[in-house]
């Protein structure tokens, strides 16, 4: 027994000492990893049950948080971009956006009436009880679908087990454009057949896209999208396509009505001196119309061509933004610099909310004092 204790401690000492030089390895580096990272298999820790009082037990699937999203946010809460999605100050300027904005309601007085930009309108209201994130009380089901707001969480979209078309293990992340059948899906998104909760089973495959490995999203450092994003969103928002709705999807080509030409020429309201080589605007991304992720470039500043297409994420962020409808900009503002909310004078504004709302852009300095809605990047009505 003593020998065993000795060997155990010796091993621990070696691990302690030689463990200084390490390779970082996340709990799920591109796919599923250790079960115990998220689950408590026997609802027990330290020979004591984790469940103490009914209603406060671990998540329904023996997750270590109160619910799936609380489990995810144990790691993914934080600032400084990277793998963080929920900061305390809106500083995660990632393509998906910061769930921080769900906690921020802004108000102002317009013509004698108090107006609101409510937190729950700013994005997908994921339920994370440990973090105080509650279900959307207004949109109780997914717009254009049936998904129950009370079931919405990180695992509604992301498959934490990293399955790809129901196949087995993957060898690495599918987020960075590396080809191969054993690579996972872009951002661990649920694939065909994924049971997303609320009786929804996905029927559209994951989009083709490529993530960037850096900090804040900029025009030269961004997710680059290939195709299929809108089709994938319709797994839950199925009726958000068709007649009398803004087209989005693989067949919504920007060649229609010369929209690609508009996009490339548009620099700002009243300024049409742009060229395709530098036209990319991360506030208005598009899909390049390709199924080959290896051709995508997260540093490309090149604007669209005739095969590019508009997608849901052209106007919305997947997680949350500072604006209603998870908009990439304040849709109903006439002038973005002075009429977007949050404004510095709004009630509820703290810290760097205004600057963070447009991803570190001073809108007046970037576009001018009279920049109108970014719908005009494609539609040239200003």
């Amino acid at each position: 027994m003593k020998a065993m204790k000795l060997s155990v401690f010796a091993m621990a000492a070696m691990l302690a000492i030689f463990g200084i030089s390490s390779t970082s390895h996340a709990l799920h580096d591109g796919g599923v990893a250790r079960c115990e990272a998220c689950h408590t298999m026997h609802n027990s820790q330290g020979n004591a049950g984790m469940t103490v009082i009914a209603g406060h037990e671990p998540g329904g699937r023996l997750t270590k948080g109160s619910d799936p999203s609380s489990t995810c946010l144990n790691c993914h809460q934080g600032g400084g971009n990277g793998y963080h999605v929920f900061s305390t100050d809106g500083s995660n300027l990632t393509p998906g956006g910061d769930f921080y904005w769900l906690t921020k309601t802004f108000s102002w007085v317009s013509r004698g009436t108090t107006q609101y930009s409510t937190g729950e309108s700013h994005g997908h209201s994921v339920v994370a009880a440990d973090f105080g994130l509650a279900a959307d009380a207004t949109l109780t089901t997914a717009p254009g679908g049936t998904y129950n707001a009370g079931s919405l969480g990180c695992t509604s979209c992301h498959d934490p087990h990293g399955n790809k078309n129901g196949a087995g293990a993957i060898e690495g992340s599918g987020s960075y454009g590396v080809a191969g059948p054993t690579r996972g899906n872009f951002r661990l998104l649920g694939d065909i057949g994924y049971q997303a909760g609320s009786s929804v089973t996905f029927t559209s495959q994951v989009p083709v896209a490529r993530s960037f490995s850096s900090n804040a999203e900029t025009n030269a450092n961004h997710a680059d999208y290939g195709q299929g994003m809108s089709e994938w969103c319709r797994n839950c928002h199925g009726n958000f396509s068709g007649s009398l709705r803004h087209p989005a999807g693989n067949d919504a080509h920007l060649s229609n009505d010369s929209i690609a030409d508009h996009y490339n020429a548009y620099v700002a309201s009243g300024n049409l001196t742009g060229t395709q080589a530098t036209a990319y605007l991360a506030l208005v991304p598009f899909e390049r119309g390709t199924a080959d992720a290896t051709t995508l470039s997260t540093t490309s500043t090149v604007g669209p061509n005739g095969t590019s297409n508009v997608m849901c994420l052209t106007c919305h962020r997947a997680h949350a933004s500072a604006f209603p409808d998870a908009g990439r900009w304040y849709f109903t503002a006439t002038f973005l610099s002075t009429q977007s909310h949050p404004l510095a004078t709004d009630t509820g504004v703290t810290g760097n909310d205004v600057l963070n709302s447009y991803y570190n852009r001073d809108m007046t300095a970037t576009f001018g004092a009279y920049q109108r809605s970014l719908c005009n990047k494609c539609h040239l009505q200003d």
Binding site: F9, A16, I17, G19, I20, S24, S213
Partner: protein, 331 residues
């Protein structure tokens, strides 16, 4: 053996590791087996930080204990306010909720009683000096920063032993300055830990603490490890991934007492683990639940000099206070 250049410090790591291994094994043989603890340590729940409405329902806040004045400073970055609690755990003062401090990231108190506030601004960051009322009386400007700190963007701030310790958690860089902000020493933790370039995004520091001897303690969750960096640049680390007692899930806050015991919070396992100065696991406490002594996703930790450990939690459970008592070793 060690150099002032942090880039070169790790080249001496083999010497350190071999020496450490000898010391570690020496402890084993001296003890005649796996002695779980030379001195037992007892933990008991005391109370939660409160005001006249009851427990203040914080979620993951920053803590600093002003040992000289027996006060606990709590920064809620989401609300932007700073509250001060007395040694009995009752709120006695608050400030900062008027937005005058910009986006506050961390707080500390210097020996003379001035409060230092690290804030994010539109153009970077600032270190504000405040009086005991929380009124801004000046700024501390960093000076003589070396080139490798040109993009330094600190998110943590600790004042200890007449030094200011600043940590950029994402870039994993530490700057140590005099009280007037003049650079004195610095450390590139990425280089010390030999993090490969393709893994540097996402590898970052979570918990950060400076003990009474100026040792810098920090955790890196994705490495499942905790580290101690001496003022001279000697680095030692420990930690093993896992779910059983003493193993690391998602480690966060870290602190050390005067005896050298190291406290490590684990968000995923909902425990605080205690290790001795040789990184030998002593015990853990907490566990997820709703009893006052339970912990839900413990994060930042802080210690006072009187054996009280402050633990920030989730689910609006605020800050739990635990008494730590160490019995004399059996001879």
């Amino acid at each position: 053996m060690f150099t002032e250049n942090p880039r070169q410090l790790f080249s001496s790591a083999w010497v350190l590791t071999v020496a450490g291994l000898i010391i570690g094994l020496g402890v084993v043989f001296t003890a005649g087996g796996w002695n779980t603890a030379e001195a037992s340590i007892e933990v008991s729940y005391a109370y939660h930080l409160s005001n006249f409405s009851g427990t203040v329902p914080y979620n993951w806040v920053n803590l600093f204990v002003d040992e000289l004045r027996n006060e606990i400073y709590v920064l809620d970055p989401r609300a932007g306010d700073i509250r001060v609690f007395n040694e009995k755990g009752m709120e006695v003062f608050s400030f900062g909720d008027d937005g005058s401090l910009d986006s506050v990231m961390d707080i500390t108190v210097e020996k003379g009683g001035d409060i230092l506030v690290l804030s994010k601004t539109n153009t970077g960051f600032s270190i504000l000096r405040c009086n005991f009322r929380g009124e801004v009386t000046g700024k501390i400007l960093l000076g003589n920063l070396p080139d490798w700190l040109s993009n330094f963007s600190p998110t943590r701030l600790i004042c200890r032993n007449e030094r200011i310790f600043l940590l950029d958690t994402a870039a994993m860089k530490i700057a140590v300055t005099a009280m007037d902000g003049i650079f004195q020493n610095g450390f590139e933790l990425m280089a010390l830990l030999e993090i490969p370039p393709d893994k540097q995004i996402g590898t970052e520091v979570s918990g950060f603490y400076v003990d009474g001897n100026g040792n810098m303690l920090f955790t890196v969750p994705v490495l499942f490890s905790a580290y101690i960096l001496s003022p001279e640049g000697r680095l030692a680390g420990f930690g093993t991934p896992g779910s059983s007692p003493g193993r690391f899930g998602v480690v966060s806050g870290i602190a050390a007492d005067d005896q050298g015991n190291i406290f490590v919070a684990d968000r995923l396992r909902s425990v605080v683990m205690i290790f001795d100065r040789n990184f030998q696991f002593l015990k853990e406490f907490g566990y997820r639940g709703v009893l006052p002594s339970n912990l839900i996703s413990p994060s930042n930790l802080s210690l006072d000099g009187k054996g009280k450990l402050y633990v920030s939690q989730l689910k609006s459970r605020g800050i739990g206070v635990f008494k730590i008592q160490q019995a004399a070793p059996d001879l």
